[in-house]
């Protein structure tokens, strides 16, 4: 089958969307941009292909309701979890090998080399047991990125092992830091089909699948894996787009892609706000998703997603923890500067005045949205419907402030926030790819 790929190379994450000839989304993939757009593109695309396979498998299994007692979702959920576990264990093994290699090269602790080697083996043994639970039916993962899943747990386990073995924790932490980027830059091995089949076997063996006729299911799965997915046209967008090995016709401005992507998600969209890692865009679109006006921040990334990233670092929190913390606020501390460089100073200043962390967080979220409102108003204001996209749209505290300020300034308005809003730019790019071939 022919497919069309849109890739959005953002400053923080790289996203890919695969679309079929009818404009239906087949798969989505996301990865850290890690200042290496070639790898990020490869990984995001591969992730999107995996997600496409899952869609195709879903379609194939959906055609077998009798065999599955209508339980396609359970089987598919198990299949995906098991497949992800397979990928995860592969990356964990990769991480273990690279850590061991780094240890062998390290000339500083020659006398301890074997003890460190044994400590690493112990860490990874514990990690494998602990983290496999994340992929169990009742498990929940706060992120799909390997670094997020393995990173913090590695540190916890390394602390325990350091205590048990008397090896300095910093040595173990350092080995992880030296190795993680290389692991991220290794795309999953190519045997995707084999992994799916092994995943199916595991699910069936666990008895959670509700499958009565394994052979038919396996044959349907094989059929879905055999569908040839042909990449007809790729369109790239986002900050790293000029680095893509594409001719100029395959590159579209992210403003156009976000406008079109928002239109595809919500055809009634007239105003789009996108808050990404390094820029904030206010976009006005017409009834066909064509951009009629836009404004964005200038060279300063004040108040963009990266600002929240710095705040999270300053507070030693995960980015995803900021919103929930701000939601617990009892008041909103006034924050004047959304300058990313001054973020730490502003934060410490308020803390030193005795303000509570959650109240400061509420103030920071408000400050970001105030800046975004200024950019939107410069682009022509907000017209119904209003669609909010980008990584910050996932932050409940930011959304709460936005709703409040939209109501105060523009009155009642339909505000659309898609759970997949981070893919808006890539979706628009995929549609541009589809139209390029169509026309």
């Amino acid at each position: 089958m022919k497919c069309f790929v849109g890739i959005d190379l953002g400053s923080t994450t790289t996203k890919a969307v695969l679309m079929d000839e009818r404009g239906e989304v087949l798969g989505r993939g996301i990865t850290n941009s890690r200042s290496n757009y070639d790898t990020a593109t490869r990984v995001a695309k591969l992730e999107a292909y995996i997600s496409t396979r899952l869609t195709l498998i879903h379609r194939a299994l959906g055609a077998l309701p009798g065999l599955l007692n209508g339980n396609v979702d359970t089987l598919l959920g198990g299949l995906e979890r098991s497949f992800r576990l397979e990928l995860f264990l592969e990356q964990l093994a990769d991480l273990q090998n690279i850590c061991q290699r780094q240890n062998k090269r390290d000339l500083r602790h020659l006398g301890m080399r074997q003890r460190i080697e044994a400590a690493l083996d112990a860490i990874f043994e514990r990690l494998r047991n602990k983290l496999a639970g994340l992929f169990a039916p009742e498990g929940s993962r706060r992120s799909d990125f390997f670094r997020d899943l393995a990173g913090s747990e590695y540190m916890h386990v390394a602390e325990e092992v350091a205590e048990d073995t008397g090896i300095n924790f910093d040595i173990l932490a350092n080995l992880y830091d030296q190795s993680i980027i290389e692991v991220e830059n290794h795309p999953p091995s190519e045997d995707i089909g084999g992994k799916f089949l092994r995943a199916l076997e595991r699910v069936v063996a666990q008895g959670h699948s509700g499958v009565s006729d394994t052979a038919t299911v396996k044959s349907a799965l094989q059929g879905a894996l055999d569908v040839e997915v042909e990449e007809s046209y790729v369109v790239g967008t986002g900050y790293g787009r000029v680095q893509l090995p594409f001719p100029k016709e395959h590159i579209r401005s992210e403003i156009l892609c976000h406008g079109l992507g928002a239109h595809l998600m919500y055809p009634g969209t007239r105003t789009v706000l996108d808050i990404g890692g390094q820029d904030t865009k206010g976009i006005q679109v017409d009834g066909n998703g064509i951009v009629v006006n836009f404004q964005m921040n200038d060279r300063c990334a004040a108040g963009c997603g990266r600002y929240l990233g710095y705040i999270a670092d300053e507070m030693n929190l995960g980015l995803h923890e900021l919103g929930p913390m701000a939601m617990k606020a009892t008041k909103t501390v006034r924050i004047n500067s959304t300058c990313t460089v001054f973020a730490g100073a502003e934060l410490r200043d308020r803390l030193s005045l005795g303000e509570k962390r959650e109240d400061i967080m509420a103030g920071l979220h408000r400050a970001i949205i105030l800046r975004a409102m200024s950019i939107i108003s410069r682009s022509g204001g907000i017209s119904d419907e209003f669609t909010f996209t980008g990584g910050v749209a996932k932050n409940e505290a930011a959304v709460k402030e936005l709703r409040k300020l939209v109501q105060e300034n523009y009155g009642a308005m339909t505000i659309n926030i898609n759970p997949e809003s981070i893919y808006t730019g890539a979706l628009g790019a995929a549609e541009f790819a589809r139209r390029a071939v169509e026309s």
């Binding site: 156009l256 066909n288 064509i290 404004q295 200038d298 060279r299």
Partner: protein
């Protein structure tokens, strides 16, 4: 790249002529110790070059020096020098570049020191910073200062009172000061002669600028335009050199039209004209070529710009008039783009979008120019509304390299050009009834 190398080697005759004029002018300025000629420091908008020449004086234009430093990548250090002396980051970067240059020996592009001015002649045409800038220069040089107060054209109409007020100052303040400093008696017939030459050069200039009305414009009226404007804006208006320069230039553009060629760029002739835009606001000088390249690489040509009118608006009929020498100088100062109100600027830009069949208006807003940037978004909205053509807004600076973010500007420009494309496609689909 080979095209680029060729075009850098083979310069057009007009370019060589202008280059020799500028070189000679810097030589004259840096040789006053030997020649004994007097120097008036004055600004581009509303400059009284013909009048200054009547007193055998030379003009030294501080903004042009700042532009020269910006294009030669020297302004960054000069600005930092001025900041060390206490000028804040938000102050006009032309001013800081000039202050920095003074503190570094005031070296001209020919490597020799600039002379201190004998007279500071401030023709005030809308930029409040100019006044403060000259206060700093007066403090530095302690020389005679004369200010021509040109009433702001707030109501969009030059009245007889406004004109006579300027003429009165010319007679009672400016001319006596020039006589005093130079020791030369004012000769109105000499002024008439210079004005006659100005008008001749202005005719050819307007022809050149209006050649951009051709679809497949032979010129870029912004990036190329700043070169075409050089002589008329600066120390050459009223000279034989300027008359000759514009005759040569006009001949070259006529030939370009006859041969169906597009505008010249640093990398040779522009191949394809995909977008025609009108630009408001000065260019960025520190990354001038990179900025220009972002346009011609995408097939965008600027067909009209307001910046090329800051030193005089000629394309609506005004010419220096030798029959009314002082009144014409007054009209010239009153009519400068910088002295025009927001509604007048909107009218002009609307006219350009329509007359030059442009795809829309692009505004390059200058970070450190507070007075001129105010109201630009309103201008854009109004022009969009009246013409139905999309506008776009970018932000850079005059000569502070820290305020030019190439990726941000490129992102916005590409988005703008692609937006024009999309709207064209949308319009053609609508015309064919396709949805």
């Amino acid at each position: 790249m080979s095209t680029a190398t060729r075009s850098e080697v083979v310069k057009e005759r007009s370019m060589l002529k202008q280059k020799s004029m500028i070189t000679a002018n810097y030589e004259a300025l840096t040789s006053v110790q030997e020649t004994g000629r007097k120097v008036a420091a004055t600004f581009v908008p509303g400059n009284l070059n013909e009048l200054i020449m009547c007193f055998d004086m030379l003009s030294n234009l501080p903004e042009i020096n700042a532009i020269q430093n910006g294009m030669r990548k020297k302004s960054g250090l000069l600005i930092q020098e001025a900041e060390k002396r206490g000028h804040s980051e938000d102050v006009c970067t032309y001013v800081k570049c000039d202050i920095g240059q003074m503190s570094k020996g005031n070296i001209a592009p020919n490597g020799r020191p600039m002379p201190p001015p004998d007279l500071l002649l401030l023709s005030y045409t809308g930029c409040f910073t100019f006044m403060k800038w000259f206060e700093l220069l007066r403090h530095e040089y302690g020389c005679e200062t004369v200010m021509l107060q040109v009433p702001y054209d707030g109501d969009g109409k030059v009245t007889e009172n406004m004109r006579s007020y300027v003429v009165k100052q010319l007679k009672e303040e400016v001319i006596p000061a020039l006589e005093r400093v130079s020791g030369v008696k004012f000769d109105i017939d000499r002024l008439r002669e210079y004005l006659r030459k100005s008008a001749k050069a202005e005719d050819d200039l307007v022809w050149v600028l209006q050649s951009a009305k051709h679809v497949r414009s032979p010129i870029d009226a912004y990036f190329g335009g700043v070169y075409y404007l050089g002589p008329i804006f600066t120390a050459f208006r009223g000279t034989d050199d300027a008359v000759e320069y514009y005759e040569i230039l006009r001949g070259e553009i006529e030939q370009r039209i006859a041969e169906g060629r597009g505008p010249i760029t640093p990398e040779g002739d522009m191949k394809e004209e995909k977008y025609r835009v009108v630009v408001e606001g000065p260019p960025n000088w520190t990354s001038f070529r990179d900025f220009w390249k972002m346009f011609y690489d995408d097939g965008a040509v600027v067909v009209a710009s307001s910046y090329t009118k800051v030193g005089g608006v000629y394309d609506f009929g005004f010419r220096h008039d030798p029959e009314h020498p002082l009144e014409t100088l007054a009209d010239y100062c009153l009519g400068c783009y910088t002295n025009r109100s927001l509604p007048q600027r909107v009218d002009m830009l609307e006219n350009y979008v329509n007359e030059y069949q442009a795809d829309g208006l692009l505004i390059n807003s200058i970070k450190s120019c507070n007075s001129f940037s105010a109201g630009q978004l309103l201008i854009m909205r109004e022009v969009e509304k009246r013409t139905g053509k999309p506008g776009a807004f970018i932000e850079t600076d005059l000569v502070d390299p820290r305020y030019f973010s190439a990726s941000n500007v490129k992102n916005r420009l590409e988005s703008y050009f692609q937006m024009i494309d999309q709207q064209r496609k949308g319009a053609s689909s609508a015309a064919q009834g396709i949805h």
